[in-house]
Amino acid sequence: MSMLDEIPVADPAAGNPEVIQSPKPVSRFRLVLSRLRSTPRFWVGIIGLGTIVLWAIFGLAPNAWNASDLDTFNMGSSPTALHWFGTSDIGEDIYAQTIVGLRKSLIIGLLVGPLAAIIAGVVGAVAGYVGGWWDKAIVWVIDLLLVLPSLFLFILLSPIFKSLSWVALIFLLAGFGWMIMARVIRAQTKSLRERDFIKAARFMGVDTWTIIRRHVLPNVSSLLIIDATLGVGGAILSETTLSFFGFGIQAPDVSLGTLLASGQSAAATRPWLFVFPAAILVFTVLSASLVGDALRDAVDPTSGVNRE
């Protein structure tokens, strides 16, 4: 699959010189910000994400029930003024459960995204810059992990992680979530390596690690930020899928995945058990990916071919 390298990586410095003469020397950061501001998708995403986070933090306050409370008088009730999202067969308040599950899923997503991006950045930069056997070895590992669907690996490794706390899941997801981005970073680094400012540093005698730290990583940072953002949604998707099939978060911990699993059997007859948590889940992931996509468009309007 080394053909991925041949996907053109747009050079951010290149532009159409005749038409897009920047009006005044605006910094890249400001330019990105102004492009972001004019993207409706960004606003939809950031407001959605902000609402979800605030709701996860404060959503329990107006609710009369806690996630562990059992309302034995209202078992299997449909949404009412008392139980906004209804209750389960044993009287758990679905609203409270959704918020608790959302918290866990959000924490996992928000930690895994950046963590995977950091791994991708370091591994990709080393492979792309150092080259040679390092590069070959890293590319092989990446290719291998791409051939084995990571979902299967998660399931395979789940017996180990089940016995540990849910925090271990964060490292598991990050540990298998960096490969595609590492390839992109590697390709970008390879083109950076041929750029004159890195050549200049090399001819000055600057050592490899300093070049990676001082020149390579800052210049791929925008990609990493995008990846971290898009990774949030991806991690939540992986986590809920694993938990849904019983390989992820284990009882008594609750995540959106476990909640959906318990609501599944009644999905057709009592849809609220399933539809409310599912809608929250989709909304969360959608918001995160809209922000990530808008960021990518703003950083590099010609991008988008590198990752989807």
Partner: protein, 327 residues
Amino acid sequence: MIGFIVKRFINYAILSAIATLSAYLLASTILNPAGRYLGRNPRPSDETINSILTGLGVNPHTPVIERLWTWVVNLVTHGSLGDTIHNTTVVSEMTARAGTSLRLLILGTIIAAIVGVAIGVWGAVRQYKFSDQAISYASFTILATPSFVLGILLMILATLLNNVLGVQLINFTGEYTAGLDGGWWVQFWDRAAHLLLPTISLALMGAAGYSRYQRSAMLDVLSADYIRTARSKGRTRGSALVRHGVRVALIPMSTYFAYSFATVLAGAAVTELVFSWHGMGEMLVNAITQSDINAFTGAVLFNAVLILIAGTLSDVVYAALDPRVRV
């Protein structure tokens, strides 16, 4: 060109082989096949368990390298993938299930690719117009939906539809209706009806991804100089985009197809589980839960071969589309 394809094929073949072998090693170290027998009542004796495990070739007392060697030798000499814990051969289990999975995968992938490419092109040409925005938001929403949620939502919708119509129009549990009488025509329709929802589910996921990708590949092409040249020759914008643009924008799609295929496989496995299909995905997941090392490795091999085929196929398409790699 042949050289290029051969090289890529060998590359994929080695990758698939290594993936399978490392799956075997991983499974052997993580899974505990003895655990299944220890919980039985009455608990079989240690010797019994030992002999069962040795018979399966998964006895943890044998060094793992030796077990791997035996497995490889069996595969090469007898074409055997060992036995499952249910005393069937892995190969027979796979032949029984493979058709089910392939039917879903092939149909789903083809529909996804065609629909995805078509709406991707359309979205790019109508960039930022309402239809493009609508398509974009729709694909983002689908991409933000886990495949199990998508499957279940489709089932809920189908139930509603069935209830409204008062007839069981759409069947979605299992692969076919058990005990259905009738000729092969009836059987065919029954299977087709069962195929409907899982295929839609898989195709939707795939099409959403492909359309995003095709759209950005098209956008790269929209501003390309050769589109301008084609227009300067006397083509209208639309005709230049179709004749020159789409043709070039399909090139990156062929590579994307190869590396998105692993994701499609995972999505298909989840879909099978949700719709209670007895396919390869179910076999893989069950193998892990039941600590069946041989069945697991067999399922991984199946996936690896599919990726090998998909990868080579996408390289053939790539070489056919792009004269620059035909050397």
